[in-house]
């Protein structure tokens, strides 16, 4: 029985180059490190105006989200190397960069899907199961919007405000996370239905220091269809 250790693509490459002995016929697995790339938006940068300016959307997507992905990929490569070498110190040391940049990638990927131009359903309140759940758990759609806006406004520093499905309790509720912490850091049983970025980069060029105005206007472009689909998918 040919034994072939799991080797990374890099190690395999260097072994072959140095003329190493046969690594086993056909059973060699090359562990590819999966890296990530910037997802496209399904609408133009300017399509969310006047709620969110095209200038903000372009910088937010092409600069901020891209930077999280670039740095996440870099951290993953360093992590891979550290794991290979058994360098535990380095592995642990990389955790904050992974959490921050990986979280940034997760959160922004969700965010782009949470938005839609008004002529494509943006702003239309949810119907169906999510609509009923919101009524049951918040009293009304308006009450949810008001509470989520006020929690987003009150968040100190940088972070996100979420409408979350609690899979265990089968209820929807509002959560906030700091910096780029994804919602799962508040509980593995929480599913993000809707996330609103309240980092200053999400609104500053347009709304300056007036975060409440940004939060008032973003509801006009919230893609409730996506949130409903996420809810239906989990709550079934």
């Amino acid at each position: 029985m040919a034994f072939c250790a799991l080797v990374s693509k890099k190690a395999l490459g260097s072994a072959l180059r140095s003329g190493a002995a046969d690594l086993g016929s056909g059973l060699c697995q090359i562990r590819r490190l999966q890296t990530f790339s910037l997802p496209d938006l399904s609408y133009d940068y300017g399509a969310l105006e006047p709620a969110i300016s095209g200038e903000i959307m372009k910088i937010h997507h092409q600069k901020h989200h891209q930077a999280y992905i670039t740095n996440y990929n870099k951290a993953l490569e360093q992590l891979d190397e550290a794991i290979q070498k058994g360098d535990t110190s380095k592995v642990v040391g990389l955790q904050s960069a992974i959490k921050f940049n990986g979280g940034g990638h997760i959160n922004h990927s969700i965010f782009w899907k949470n938005l839609a131009p008004t002529n494509e359903g943006g702003g239309e309140p949810p119907k169906g199961a999510l609509g009923w759940a919101i009524d049951a758990d918040f009293g009304s759609f308006e009450a949810l919007v008001q509470k989520m806006s006020s929690e987003g406004a009150a968040l100190q520093g940088s972070g996100w405000v979420w409408l979350a499905l609690d899979k265990e309790l089968k209820k929807v509720r509002i959560e906030t996370t700091a910096n780029q912490d994804p919602l799962v850091t508040k509980g593995l049983h929480l599913v993000p239905l809707l996330g609103i970025d309240v980092w200053e980069h999400a609104y500053y060029l347009q709304y300056k220091n007036v975060r409440p105005d940004y939060l008032k206007n973003i509801w006009k472009v919230i893609n409730w269809k996506h949130a409903s689909d996420a809810f239906d998918g989990e709550a079934a």
Binding site: Q156, G157, S158, Y204, N209
Partner: protein, 239 residues
């Protein structure tokens, strides 16, 4: 330990006469003032625009002062100095848990006061004198210090500040998140850079590295840093 800062907020006391039905003691309401930067708002152009200062000082900093005055009126914090308020309402390194109203503490105000006096028109250049000596002793070179300072500013994930401080006779670089400031820590601040996005977004957008480089090269007031170092040394000798 309250920090004896030259730029302490001056407190204007307004004495409010009590109503007829209450006792004869009068209620004192302390009003913290918004201190202006020691230069016109356009003086730091093109490195930090007038527009940035109009918002950063005129809206953010002013907002912190107005909110704190409202929050402390008639409370146990009323009448204290800014430094006393910061220390008294310190919340274990966190300005406040998320999802709550703005904190009843003065750290954001203190940090911004410290920021405006850490920079000046025609700033940058190199430190000199005792400050230079200690930099070379504790970091090897000015470049090494500035590189570490910049790193701290760039790796402060999210909102926060990077500091040059003086701890137990040594110069140190530190970073703090959100509104945390060193008054409740074990180092005396000498220099700060604000890396909340509002500090640079209008001028640099996402390019925090460019902002921090420019801050270092064109804005830092090494005179102010030297003066604060002298004070910190004097204070540690008399302590």
């Amino acid at each position: 330990m309250p920090n004896e800062e030259l730029n302490a907020i001056s407190i204007v006391f307004l004495v409010v006469q009590s109503r007829a039905t209450s006792s004869s003691s009068s209620r004192v309401t302390a009003q913290l003032e918004l201190k202006a930067p020691p230069y016109p708002l356009d003086a730091l152009e093109p490195y930090m625009s007038q527009k940035t200062l109009e918002f950063h000082w005129g809206k953010h900093h002013r907002g912190y002062v107005d909110n704190l005055n409202k929050q402390i009126a008639g409370t146990d914090l009323d009448g204290l100095t800014l430094e006393e308020i910061v220390v008294k309402s310190y919340n274990n390194g966190s300005p406040l848990p998320l999802s709550t109203m703005p904190p009843r503490h003065g750290a954001p105000i203190w940090n911004h006061d410290f920021l405006w006096t850490s920079i000046k028109p025609g700033g940058g250049g190199k430190p000199s004198g005792l400050l230079l000596e200690l930099i070379e002793r504790d970091f090897g070179s000015v470049d090494a210090l500035l590189s570490e300072f910049k790193q701290a500013a760039l790796t402060q994930f999210g909102s926060g500040w990077a500091w040059l401080g003086y701890r137990a006779g040594k110069l140190v670089v530190e970073k703090t998140a959100n509104a945390v400031n060193p008054l409740v820590s074990d180092y005396t601040p000498l220099l700060v850079v604000d890396v909340w996005e509002h500090a640079y977004y209008l001028d640099y957008q996402n390019r925090r590295p460019d902002f921090v480089s420019t801050f270092i090269e064109k804005l830092i007031s090494w005179d102010a840093v030297s003066a604060r170092l002298d004070e910190a040394i004097a204070a540690s000798k008399s302590a």
